[in-house]
């Protein structure tokens, strides 16, 4: 009874803390400007099913795709086991689902195999990051915290899988001993090999089994609460992020309605402007971006596929699309913390542009969309870069001199070069 109450208290506390932090992230995302992503619900649903559930963009890199698939499928399916753990914990039962018979053995057996593949995959991931030191996991933005974050996640997953298998091994051995309370149920294709390393005394086995059970469930609840602080948040946000992702051709940039009003008024004095959101042109700070940009930032798991294909980054420029996303997330989180501490009106004198992302980075972008194409969860760093450029050009008139010259030429000559518009058709006079 004490155990059941303790379990209930821990579970409720964990869920409460998680929803508190989760709501903060949602609040932060809502600090962004509006963007309409409610159209074409069917196409959106299909995109989510294909890209997030189906992992369709992972296959470009087959080795990590294969390993990630095991971890993903393990995560989804082993959660069925967590449901049983929850019920057992609350009602003091043991393996409450065992009544379903053969299917139960099949399920437990599958969980064990999945747990082993998750274990192996995570171990290989650790090797790739820390021993092979793959280039994709390096870069200016990959400072101590992002590196540790990745390792913590992998180590915790390995620990959770280890105790899960150890728990089953102890359980299987107790079942063989005919221990009361340990109903004969389940199949143990993996953990049967661990039975030999366990002691044979019943009380020791019960201690190990219970110890692992508590470690497993408390570990899962603790991990849940780690998510809001971690890049691992993508396991939740990959789904809404793909659902709300851009469905238009990648080459299309948004037309700014606020500018349309002004340009129409300039060209036609009788024009009556439509209602648009007032404010500055482009983005200086994270709150000038749309909620979609901010959700993108919280979804990023820092895998670096974007940076690995970025032509600017490949050729040694400062720009890294992954850094754009991480900076955006760090900045909006900082703004959120400021609001919590000092109220909504507080200004800390900092901004996303210059304090986080430099001009050199935004001007190195070729807008080639390679980063957008590469992202396995449809994050769009290009939109953020464009918004920062819009601010630099339209609010500050601060662009590289040659860009200003090009803009001047378009204004004066209808072409980005200094040629006379009268000569535009001269090409037809030559051979």
């Amino acid at each position: 009874m004490v155990a059941q109450i303790l379990f209930l208290v821990i579970t409720l506390a964990a869920i409460a803390l998680f929803s508190f932090n989760f709501r903060k992230i949602i609040r932060n995302i809502r600090l962004g400007k509006s963007a309409d992503r409610k159209d074409q619900p069917q196409k959106r649903l299909l995109t989510m099913l294909r890209v997030a559930f189906g992992q369709s963009k992972m296959v470009v890199r087959p080795i990590p795709a294969f390993l990630h698939f095991f971890v993903y499928i393990g995560f989804v399916i082993i959660n069925i086991e967590v449901l049983e753990i929850m019920i057992d914990g609350l009602f003091g039962t043991h393996r409450v689902f065992h009544g379903i018979g053969g299917l139960y053995n099949f399920l437990i057996g599958s969980f064990e195999i999945l747990a082993l593949t998750v274990w192996i995959s995570c171990a290989i991931f650790l090797v790739r990051r820390n021993i092979l030191k793959l280039k994709r996991f390096k870069g200016v933005e990959m400072t101590n915290w992002p590196k540790s974050d990745a390792n913590y996640i992998l180590i915790v997953e390995i620990l959770l899988m280890s105790v899960f298998l150890l728990m089953n091994a102890a359980d299987a051995k107790l079942q063989l001993l005919g221990s009361t309370h340990y109903t004969v149920a389940g199949a143990f294709p993996v953990s049967q090999y661990l039975m030999n390393i366990l002691p044979s005394s019943e009380s020791a086995l019960v201690m190990i089994e219970r110890g692992c059970w508590w470690f497993h469930i408390i570990g899962i609840l603790a991990f849940l609460n780690y998510l809001p602080y971690s890049k691992h948040f993508h396991i939740l946000f990959a789904f809404p992020n793909t659902y709300f992702s851009n469905l238009e051709p990648k080459g299309e940039f948004t037309n700014m309605a606020s500018v349309t009003n002004e340009v129409k008024a300039m060209l036609d004095p009788s024009f009556v402007p439509t209602e648009t959101e007032a404010g500055k042109f482009g983005a200086k700070d994270a709150t000038d971006l749309t909620w979609v940009n901010l959700m993108n930032a919280y979804t990023c798991t820092e895998c670096g596929r974007c940076t690995a294909v970025c032509p600017a980054n490949i050729t040694g420029k400062l720009l890294s699309p992954r850094k754009i996303m991480m900076d955006t997330r760090d900045r909006i989180t900082e703004i959120g913390k400021n609001i919590d501490k000092n109220g909504a009106e507080h200004q800390d004198g900092k901004a996303l542009l210059d304090d986080y992302i430099t001009r050199e980075e935004i001007w190195a972008c070729t807008s080639c969309n390679a980063c957008v194409e590469a992202c396995p969860v449809n994050i769009d760093p290009l939109q953020i870069i464009t918004e920062l450029r819009r601010y630099a050009v339209m609010e500050e008139s601060q662009a590289p001199a040659s860009i200003n010259a090009m803009l001047g030429n378009i204004e004066n000559n209808q072409a980005p070069w200094k040629y006379s518009p009268a000569d535009r058709f001269n090409w037809a006079n030559e051979n």
Binding site: V393, I410, R424, W427, N431
Partner: protein, 262 residues
């Protein structure tokens, strides 16, 4: 040119309407290398007998480089001015030799009141081949030649056009080889996003050199392009590598014109 390139103003004066408007673009109008491609597109249109016209001096920059650089004002000024001209001529269908113009007119003009069917010249060439109006006969033979095609970002990733340019090359019976990074994974030439008009930020290497290194790995005789900016970047790269004698950078329109002896 051996024939006169018709303008919209002339057609309008004669009370006629073209089947398709050829949007030349700034590079196609002023850049010497791109002008050749422009004339070749006209040769193809003339050869197959499509009724077409150009805007001539009435055309102005689509606003693409201004928009990518962040100047939405200038972009929309250009766009609305162009849309006014296009709508006044009752234009329905547009072909262009520039993926940047293609993307801008196709995707960004409709929201500002300019809705047209827009195709890239490689799509036109593919259609003409499919209809049997264009073959690869009567001119230079590309049979067995090694050709590698560089995907322009705003045609490929930007708008998902990967097949048309390749189909236009398949008809040549040449040996098509893909670069390591191609199609949706293609590497930019380095000119997009208004980079064409500025010096690159400091780094280890220029993007076009990175791309040319990759293209040369395929040992091509021809690097095929479909964008005037890519043309500049790739040609500069080949020049820098001192490979101008062995490797030609040609637009798909030029290849088509040569293969058909137009």
């Amino acid at each position: 040119m051996e024939f006169k390139v018709p303008t919209m103003a002339e057609l309008m004066a004669a009370g006629e309407e073209p089947e398709i408007l050829f949007w030349v673009g700034c590079a196609g109008s002023y850049d010497e290398r791109a002008q050749k491609i422009t004339r070749d597109i006209c040769k193809i249109l003339h050869h197959v007998g499509i009724k077409y016209a150009v805007l001539g001096t009435e055309e102005g920059c689509t606003g693409d480089p201004a928009k990518r650089a962040g100047n939405e004002f200038l972009f929309q000024m250009q766009a609305m001015t162009n849309i006014e001209v296009l709508n006044a001529y009752n234009i329905k269908k547009i072909v262009t030799g520039c993926p940047h113009c293609f993307n801008t007119i196709k995707n960004e003009y409709p929201g500002l009141g300019g809705t047209y069917e827009v195709i890239h010249h490689t799509q036109l060439i593919q259609d003409l081949i499919n209809e049997g109006k264009l073959k690869a006969e009567g001119g230079e033979s590309f049979k067995g030649k090694k050709i590698t095609y560089h995907d322009p970002c705003y045609l490929g990733r930007g708008n998902g056009v990967y097949e048309a340019p390749r189909k236009a090359l398949e008809v040549l019976d040449a040996q098509l080889v893909e670069m390591k990074r191609c199609k949706s994974n293609g590497l930019c030439c380095g000119a997009g996003g208004a980079q064409m008009f500025k010096e690159p930020e400091k780094g280890k290497k220029d993007i076009n050199v990175e791309r040319i290194d990759e293209a040369l790995e395929t040992n091509p005789q021809v690097i095929a392009a479909g964008c005037p900016f890519c043309m500049t970047m790739l040609s500069d790269g080949v020049k820098l590598k001192d490979k101008e004698q062995e490797v030609k950078v040609l637009d798909i329109a030029e290849i088509t014109v040569r293969a058909n002896g137009l």
